[in-house]
Each structure stands twice: as structure tokens, then as C-alpha cells.
Symmetry: C2
Subunit: 184 residues, 2 copies
DNA sequence: CATTTACGTTAAATATACTAAGCAAGAAAA
DNA sequence: TTTTCTTGCTTAGTATATTTAACGTAAATG
């Protein structure tokens, strides 16, 4: 199974945090007060429509509601050697941490040898990503846009757009990038 | 009102992306196939319990499901000068883009003058963040953990833990960091 | 003290979601 | 072609969510 996701407790905590009584919230949300009580006791599994109406009364977005709080993380620091190599070769992707399952963020230290290329077949994934070029120069292609970025320049885009990276300089290109959710 | 949140379209897109038919997904999720059809046509408003079961079949987390897709982004590249300074002084935070409202990710190019410090009063916010030290050395304190990171080393933590950055070296310290959701 | 107001909960009635079975259209196999 | 499988959709019956209205308690008000 899964984390039970104590929806009732979550809603109650949010409601209290916003300083509403069940009836106040119900009125603001335009629903009956009973439903708040029942949901908070997990005596009913509300429809998403209902939940949305209730959360609009706070107001809290669905995404925010489900953005679950994780237990305090243990691993905080990473030695240079601990950035695990996930590609190797002309293009090096060194990832911060091995297990991304509980991470909201994937951070990479990328190195492109001169001429290195992520390939003609452009990449796509469901995420957003961005990065800063730290050294060298890197050609970035996103959709129909293309540009050569120098050290200090940066990019940001929706990863669903086809994209490609290429080191067009004579020296190694170094980038620190981030991606959410981890999907590469 | 709000974005109508076309739940049906969203589910259908995810299902297709994962290469499942309605019946396949239904079987994996342990629900009847009709419900997939009905949900995708927005002919029913599923309970969160039901939606969770369905998404578990993909698998996709609720939070991920509601993490809304934005329209194709316009701005992709940023010149070094376009990283807007949001702090200034001994500590420099240069942020990628001015408007974070439609971003899932906040990316900063940070510079700490020798001795620079984010302060005794430790920072807290609802997010996760991580970064890679690009140059210099930086002391990072998270909760009760403390460490001096050299260039090439990295950190990652839950931003709700109190945290603090301090340049204990003689040279400037440079970090590229990312934070989701944008909250600093 | 009695009265009012607000609180969360519960019961019965109603509305709606979910299941199981069957339908028609298209693709693949014989 | 016919047969068979898969696709997505629809309907009737059952399970469950939601509403309305009432209940019991506690704190404020007269």
C-alpha cells in the first residue's frame, strides 16, 4: 500500500491554521458544514470537486494540499565524490544523491567535453528545468529557439519542449542545473 | 473563479503518456474500466480515494497530478546581466527571471564575499532546496548539522529546517542553488 | 440564574459515484 | 471474407457521498 494520506487531519490542520471554524469554512466554501466534519473524521472520501470547493474557501490550491510534508531529511551534505555519475563519457552528469524518490528536486553538476552533444533526438520529459552556465560555452536548443550561452548566463524552460545541449566551445563546459520533479 | 482544472483531459494525457489503454489502467489500478472512461469525459467527479487508486496504477502521485502544466513558456535564455539582483551587499543573490509566479523552480546564482553571512536568525520556508558550490568554500548549517563545503561539493535539505550560510574562506564563494517551490 | 450563540457531531433523505455487464466500431488473425 | 480481440462508451443497479435538519455541549450574554 501507500502512505494512508490522512486527508482529514490535513484539512483540519489547514483549517485551524487559517483560523476558521467548520461552519465558517463551510459558508465560505459554499458547502454544508456536515461535510467538513465528516471529511475531517475521514468518514467520507470527498470527490475532488467537493475538496476543491472546500479548499477554495481557505484558499489553498489542490496541488498545495497534496504537497505532502516529508519526514525530516537525513542526508544534507554531499562530498564532490558523492555526486554520482549517471552518464559518463563526453557528457558527464553528476547527480546530487542516489535516490530521488523522496526528492522534489533533481540537481546535476554537468560537464560537457568540447563537441559533446546530447544528440539529435531531442529530449522531452514532464517537468521544468533550468540552469546556470558556470564555465565554457554551451549551445542550448529549446523548441525552435537556439542560443549559445556563456559562463554566467542561464536558461529555464518547460521540459516537455524538445531540447538539446551541445558544447560548441574549445574548452570544457560546466553547468549546474535543476529539474522538478526529478524526471531525467 | 478558477482554472476549471480539466481533470479528464489531464488523466487522459497521463494515461496516454504511459502507454496504457483505459482497460489496462483500470486493471492495474483495481477499478472498473467504466470509471476511467467517465472520468476522462468529465462525466463524473471522482472521489479522492478513487482518483488516488487510479493514479497509483500509472503510477503518479496526487501532488504530481495537480501540479499544473503551464502554457509553453516564452522566456528561455537569460544573459548574465539579466539575472536580477535580489539582495546585494556582502551576499549577492542573482535570480533567474523576475516573475516566479508561473515557475516551479527558483534558481539562484549566489556570491558570498569573504565573511558574508545570512545571519544568526536562521531561515525557514516551505520548500526543498539544494545547490552546488562552484568556487570558494561555504559553511552550511542545517538544523543541528554543520559543514564547510568546498568547490564541487553540494547540499540538499528541507527548507523548513532552520538553515544558514556563511563564507568562512578568504576568497569569494560562489553557489548555484535551486529551490522548489519558489519561496525565498 | 436563564437565554442566546457558536461549536462539532449525527440521522435520515436525496443526489451521485462506482460496478458489472453489454454495445458498436476498428484492428489483427485465420 | 469470418472470427476474435481490443478499443472506448453506455446503461441499470448498488454503494456511497452530500444535504438538510436536528442534537448535545460549552461559552458568552442578558
Amino acid at each position: 500500500m501507500d502512505q494512508p494520506f490522512d486527508l482529514g487531519q490535513r484539512l483540519k490542520a489547514l483549517r485551524i491554521a487559517h483560523g476558521f471554524s467548520q461552519r465558517e469554512l463551510a459558508k465560505r466554501a459554499g458547502v454544508s458544514n456536515a461535510v467538513i466534519s465528516l471529511i475531517e473524521q475521514n468518514k467520507t472520501s470527498p470527490s475532488v470537486g467537493m475538496l476543491k470547493k472546500v479548499l477554495d474557501g481557505l484558499p489553498v490550491a489542490l496541488a498545495e494540499f497534496f504537497s505532502w510534508e516529508a519526514p525530516p531529511r537525513s542526508r544534507v551534505f554531499f562530498a564532490a565524490e558523492e555526486l554520482v555519475e549517471i552518464a559518463g563519457g563526453a557528457v558527464s552528469y553528476r547527480q546530487l544523491g542516489r535516490d530521488l524518490s523522496e526528492r522534489a528536486l533533481q540537481i546535476l553538476h554537468e560537464r560537457y567535453a568540447p563537441g559533446a552533444d546530447t544528440g539529435e533526438a531531442m529530449l522531452r520529459h514532464e517537468a521544468e528545468e533550468g540552469g546556470v552556465v558556470v564555465a565554457g560555452e554551451l549551445e542550448v536548443t529549446v523548441g525552435d529557439q537556439r542560443r549559445v550561452l556563456q559562463a554566467g548566463e542561464a536558461y529555464y524552460f518547460d521540459s516537455r519542449l524538445p531540447h538539446r545541449f551541445r558544447n560548441v566551445g574549445e574548452a570544457e563546459a560546466v553547468v549546474v542545473s535543476a529539474c522538478t520533479p526529478p524526471s531525467f
